[in-house]
């Protein structure tokens, strides 16, 4: 398809740069990654076993139940996986998986792997961090970590509309944290009205984030973004 049209006196060439509004806050989402296809991950937490069998590019068998998934590679050996309405952060570097299953965080270690160590709670390690995650053109979320379980949040374009939200954070290791932020109903911002949870791996080395936005009335939105410190 040509991007120019003939006009009187010459041609008009349309710019390829665009706001990609059709993707909303999912605009910068990196290409989905398929490296896990054909792999099985078995992990254990509190004596309970969790198994993910990645059958193909679309479906995973999670504890015996087939469901669809999407995966973004965050870093070498580190994958953020949306498994239906749950999440698995698979960390081959530490032989660990952190699940968020029906809202509960489960830190598990690979079964039968020597030295495997489950991720742990981040405590107040993130307190003092004030960061903007840019998820698309003029679409971002500001997060200020004020306590081990509370943060101040604003979404573009309403920077002034700051709300205090609950969050939980898991230390993945090194610069990586998994942050699960509960959201209130939103109005006139770049995120959907019924946004319920924003769950993302935050990488403070590369200053990027990879995750998913869940809520009522819309399909989960996989996200990628870059940091601007505030």
């Amino acid at each position: 398809m040509r991007n120019y049209t003939y006009v009187e006196g010459g041609v008009f060439i349309k710019s390829k740069a665009n706001m990609a509004e059709q993707y909303g806050i999912g605009q910068y989402r990196y290409p989905l990654n398929y490296e896990l296809v054909g792999k099985t991950v078995t992990a254990v937490a509190d004596g309970k076993e969790y198994t993910l069998e990645f059958a193909c590019k679309k479906n995973v068998v999670f504890n015996g139940a087939k469901t669809e998934y999407e995966c973004i590679k965050c870093a070498p050996g580190l994958y953020f996986v949306r498994v239906g309405f749950d999440v698995a952060v698979i960390d081959y570097n530490n032989s660990a998986v952190t699940f968020i299953i029906e809202g509960d965080i489960v830190c598990a270690a690979f079964k039968g792997v020597e030295g495997a160590a489950a991720h742990t709670c981040a405590g107040d390690e993130m307190v003092g961090t004030k960061v903007r995650w840019v998820l698309g053109c003029d679409r971002y979320i500001n997060q200020e970590f004020t306590a081990a379980d509370k943060m101040n949040v604003a979404w573009s374009p309403r920077d002034e509309k700051v709300t205090e939200n609950a969050y939980r954070a898991v230390k993945i290791g090194g610069p990586y944290y998994l942050v699960d932020m509960k959201s209130d109903i939103l109005k006139d911002v770049c995120a959907p009205f019924f946004t319920d949870h924003v769950i993302a791996v935050q990488d403070y080395d590369r200053c990027m984030t990879f995750g998913v936005v869940f809520g009522k009335g819309f399909d989960p939105i996989m996200i990628t973004g870059y940091a601007k410190f505030l």
Binding site: P31, P76, C207
Partner: protein, 286 residues
């Protein structure tokens, strides 16, 4: 802890690059190329492959891979026998599984006695041969469709630059005063008569272009205060406004010339540039 202060290394253009993608491990490809030199790539491991031309003995290489979208891969590797010589060479392929098409860019250094670090790029187009399927006759192609596009590319959390695509063979680079590009790029680039440099644009699909840029003025005009010459190839996704790519060239570091090789990536947004930039003359062309 304010994680702004996390002890990270210095990043210039490589902070927002994708992690290496090893999805192609175990796959083999035969490319029929319009230039008459057909290629076979066999991805033997997560970072290793063998390659051969027209059925010759396969050679081994270590490859890098990033993705433009779910089905488009940018794969590149240095030619092993030329590493550590003055005539390094890099093979780059855009493997487009959706359209079963391929673009090859072969870049090499050391062909020019007077300007030894200058990089020459050769381009070829072809198709992926799949048994039982008709080989496509369409090809990726040179394109002028980026003309008129201006983008702000964010390379790391404090550096962004502006690209103006106004010609098939040249582009203009600028940056705003609040970008770390002022410190990271400023000096040497400001010594040039203008920030235009040599490009080639290849259309991969309606919303994806391979933007090939050779920073050769540093070598030709300034004799290399920073880059002796650097080739950057961007796989630009205008559907989502990001790109991924690689560099191949020679850079000055601590007074020595060393290979400049890195993967990079950035996120973009449309930018309205001032008329003084939009209508600036290219100082290198008549």
């Amino acid at each position: 802890m304010n994680l702004r202060d996390y002890p990270r290394p210095f990043y210039a253009i490589n902070q927002f690059c994708q992690a290496h993608c090893s999805e192609l491990k175990g796959q083999s490809f035969n490319f029929v190329m319009d230039g008459g030199y057909d290629y076979a790539l066999n991805f033997t491991g997560e970072t290793t492959l063998t390659w051969s031309i027209n059925g010759a003995e396969p050679k081994e290489a270590t490859f890098e891979c990033v993705k433009g979208d779910e089905t488009t891969y940018l794969v590149d590797f240095d030619v092993v026998e030329l590493l550590d010589t003055d005539q390094r060479a890099n093979e780059l392929f855009v493997i487009d599984l959706d359209q079963r098409l391929v673009t090859r860019v072969y870049c090499h250094i050391g062909y020019n006695a007077r300007l030894p670090y200058l990089i020459k790029s050769n381009y070829d187009f072809g198709a992926i041969v799949v048994e039982g399927k008709e080989t496509p006759f369409k090809r990726h192609c040179y394109s002028s469709e980026l003309i008129g596009t201006t983008v702000e590319w964010h390379w790391n959390y404090e550096m962004w630059t502006h690209h103006k695509y106004y010609d098939s063979d040249y582009y203009t680079l600028t940056w705003p005063d609040d970008s770390a590009a002022v410190q990271n790029l400023g000096g040497p680039f400001e010594m040039l008569p203008s920030h235009d440099d040599v490009t080639k644009v290849i259309k991969i699909k309606d919303t994806m272009y391979l933007f090939c840029l050779t920073e050769e003025l540093m070598e030709r005009v300034l004799q290399g205060p920073v880059f002796r010459c650097n080739n950057m190839i961007f796989l630009q996704n205008y559907d989502r406004m990001y790109h991924a790519g690689r560099t191949f060239g020679t850079v000055m570091m601590d007074g020595k010339t060393v290979p400049c090789r890195t993967l990079f990536g950035s996120f973009g947004n449309p930018i309205k540039l001032p008329d003084s930039v939009l209508y600036a003359e290219n100082a290198y062309t008549v």
